[in-house]
Assembly symmetry: C2
């Protein structure tokens, strides 16, 4: 039974359940890295290499993939400078910026939760 498969809109083929706004949002910020990337960009535009340094364990491949998806989803912009060596800057869009409060709340909650459960 393959009921919720559709959405393959030519430019990217990720699937979205359209049941509710939160599920939709979760699709966009899911995975281990996107909220982290967003948080780092909240302080201003950054280059690929700068992000790579600020996010300790991410691989170049994952960073590339996540940035690409986020740009497609209009969370960030990607600006390429016609220089040698290449220079690419990433910056939050308005929509991306509006997600920052969520990032901060979640981070705060993480701090509290870790304290409360004495795991960290």
């Amino acid at each position: 039974m393959e009921r919720i498969k559709e959405n393959s809109t030519n430019n990217h083929n990720r699937k979205f359940l359209t049941t509710c706004d939160m599920t939709y949002a979760i699709q966009l910020i899911g995975g281990r890295w996107k909220l982290l990337i967003l948080t780092h960009l909240s302080k201003g535009k950054l280059r690929f290499g700068e992000l790579n340094k600020k996010i300790p364990h991410i691989t170049e491949r994952m960073l590339t993939l996540q940035l690409k998806e986020m740009a497609e989803d209009n969370l960030i912009t990607r600006k390429v400078y016609a220089e040698v060596p290449p220079k690419v800057e990433y910056e939050l869009t308005v929509l991306g910026t509006e997600l920052i409060p969520v990032c901060l709340q979640l981070s705060d909650w993480g701090t509290k939760h870790r304290a409360a459960t004495s795991i960290g």
Copy 2:
């Protein structure tokens, strides 16, 4: 990779990167369903079957797994009544309740984003 911890509270072996609180939080609420479950429980305790009805596309298997993890992570409580037929109620803990603002913000953002990108 440095510092990957086994959460050694005996009964589950999920790993947590301790890089930052947000990464930690993402581990706990990751996946497609947990924030959704949390949102539904924010209105009060619910039985397994009630949750199953309120969350349209989830399978019993996924609901079971997610509830189990959330209980282990102290986001919800699981109360079993010694009755026939069985009755189990799930309820938010204090920590789980503190996550509700995040759920609401994310949901609001989802609404706005879907409108802005005209996908929904």
